[in-house]
């Protein structure tokens, strides 16, 4: 080994350590940003190390790739509105996974003949995982963005078709593993993996996308780790494994918070089934006028805001903060109740409210706030539905039975802001809306909130 290689290896070690430290930094909001700088520095070090230590003969492709990628990536990062985070992250995924798959194909082109059994196996895994993550993430991004219908797309015999594709893909993988000279089989595997990614995600409803994305994140990480095994490169193994685990842990956490199993998310076609299962509810939904609602809020002493997915789609985070400040100016105690799976990504509400400068201290997690609802005068539900559905607690036959909820129905009065009779992610009817303590304020959350603010000012 020459001095350049040693330098390269040193940068890889440093990068690995920086990646670990950066994830450690993520354990606290105060250190999170410093953590990110570390990860960026690590990535930079690894790139420089590679360019120095590897035998590079042509620079044109490298430089143009880096430049083009930076422009597109930078544009993606700068222009994304906070509410489109999920789909942008999914898109970013797709690109990373594509790179891993292509590196595998390249390795195959250049070194296929010299590969040992283990390396070839890792290569196959890398290409397979990379390819299916690419198309899977693209579909996920499309569904989240609304380009592709959010409804689960299902047809008769779908499972059989999927099984066939999956078996075909794995079969060609094994065949290629045993017979490395079968070049065609390698490409068949690649093609089937692309198709398989699509088929995996298509039947899943857009509401389940966060779990799917987390899992795809995990796959992308494993693809990178497999690349590490192929190239004998430890930083790839470490970064890939960290990513793989983070994705896996997050999806498990999400499923737990929704009280569902991962298999159910992946193969249940949840949304589809439920669309039929929603029963009718007795009772009526009572509407409330803007002025009455404003009056209630203005003369309350304790108000809790309960944001949900509707807050994100309406981009109402600033409006809610303004209303809260007005109320606080009048001496009302305002708190925000954050359900772990409110919205469409873990921590979604936190990000949105942070964007609107809502102070941390006002945000309360489910366990903290639930005991306080009994002493709350008005709970304002802003585009949340499932996370406040009392059926989850009271009706053991409900499809979401057992999912922990924010118990707003314990509050003296509940005002629900939504556009109409729309169901939430689960497609279930919500008995909360029919309770005596509940009144509905229809309309887009953002405009409702700013009208409320105006009305409060006039009280």
């Amino acid at each position: 080994m020459n001095i350049e290689s040693y330098f390269m290896e040193a940068t890889y070690l440093v990068a690995s350590i920086l990646f670990i430290l950066s994830l450690k930094g993520m354990s606290h909001p105060e250190t999170a940003r410093r953590g990110m700088f570390m990860a960026e520095a690590g990535m930079f070090a690894a790139i420089v190390g590679t360019l120095v230590g590897q035998h590079i003969v042509t620079w044109v492709w490298i430089i143009s790739g880096l430049a083009l990628g930076s422009i597109i990536g930078g544009w993606m990062a700068v222009t994304v509105p906070m509410t489109a985070m999920p789909q942008r992250t999914a898109l970013s995924h797709a690109f990373g996974a594509l790179a891993a798959a292509l590196v595998g194909v390249g390795e195959f082109l250049v070194h296929a003949s010299e590969m040992g059994v283990v390396t070839r196996g890792a290569l196959g895994l890398e290409v397979m995982l990379g390819a299916l993550t690419t198309t899977g993430s693209l579909i996920a991004a499309g569904k989240l963005q609304g380009v592709i219908g959010g409804k689960p797309i299902q047809f008769r015999g779908q499972n059989a078709v999927n099984l066939l594709i999956g078996v075909g893909m794995l079969g060609s993988f094994v065949f290629f593993w045993i017979h490395p000279e079968a070049v065609a089989v390698f490409y068949i595997m690649l093609g089937l993996a692309f198709v398989f990614g699509v088929m995996l995600v298509i039947p899943i409803g857009s509401a389940d996308m966060p779990v799917v994305m987390s899992l795809l994140n995990s796959y992308a990480g494993l693809a990178a780790a497999a690349t590490g095994f192929v190239l004998g490169n430890n930083v790839l193994i470490i970064a890939g494994t960290l990513d793989g685990f983070s994705g896996f842990i997050l999806s498990v956490l999400m499923c737990k918070a929704m009280n569902r199993s991962i298999t159910n998310v992946l193969f249940g076609g949840f949304g589809a089934v439920i669309a039929e299962a929603s029963g009718d509810s007795d009772g009526v939904m009572r509407e409330i006028s803007l002025d009455d609602a404003a009056m209630q809020l203005a003369f309350a002493s304790r108000v809790v805001f309960v944001p949900g997915y509707g807050l994100a789609t309406a981009q109402a985070q600033h409006a809610v903060r303004e209303l809260a400040e007005l109320l606080e100016g009048r001496g009302v105690t305002v708190k925000y109740a954050i359900h772990p799976v409110a919205g469409r990504m873990p921590g979604h509400m936190n990000v949105l409210l942070a964007e609107a400068n809502v102070p941390y201290a006002a945000l309360y997690e489910m366990e903290q706030i639930n005991p306080e609802f009994v002493s709350t005068d008005v709970a304002v539900v802003i585009g949340a539905n499932d996370v406040v559905n009392p059926d989850a607690r009271d009706n053991p036959k409900s499809l979401i039975a057992g999912m922990p909820i924010l118990e707003v129905d314990r509050a003296r009065s509940v005002i629900v802001l939504k556009r109409g009779q729309g169901r939430g992610f689960s497609g279930l009817e919500n008995p909360l809306f029919f309770k005596a303590c509940t009144t509905m304020l229809y309309g887009d959350a953002r405009s409702s909130l700013s009208h409320l603010a105006k009305a409060v000012q006039q009280v």
């Binding site: 993520m26 999170a32 690894a46 790139i47 492709w61 790739g65 970013s92 690109f95 193994i237 494994t241």
Partner: protein, 105 residues
């Protein structure tokens, strides 16, 4: 691959898995969205494999081309991922004066 290297790689993988579990299970829900996009950005590390493919010696032109696409894609992943994460974290950072409160999240 030399068996000793392979074995060592397996160790690296196992240890990284443990460490990943330890470290990530301590991230508070507040930061789960940034965590997701940060690890996404980090997985763009396959960029270093792409660089070799795009610029390495002894490869057919087709491999260079593949490498170019891979470099572009991986760079989008890295730059986009870190950029998005940074934008999110900047929002959190704004609120930092409320120091101790953050521990409640």
């Amino acid at each position: 691959m030399n068996p000793a290297v392979l074995i060592a790689s397996v160790y690296v993988f196992a240890l990284a898995a443990f460490l990943g579990y330890q470290v990530i299970s301590r991230v508070p829900p507040l930061l789960h969205t940034p965590l997701m996009s940060a690890t996404n950005a980090i997985s763009g590390i396959s960029l270093i494999g792409s660089l070799v493919l795009a610029g390495g010696g002894h490869s057919p032109l087709f491999a260079h081309l593949l490498g170019f696409v891979a470099v572009t894609a991986a760079t989008i992943n890295v730059v986009g991922g870190f950029g998005i994460t940074d934008r999110m974290l900047k929002m959190f950072a704004k609120r930092l004066p409320a120091k101790n409160a953050a521990v409640n999240e």
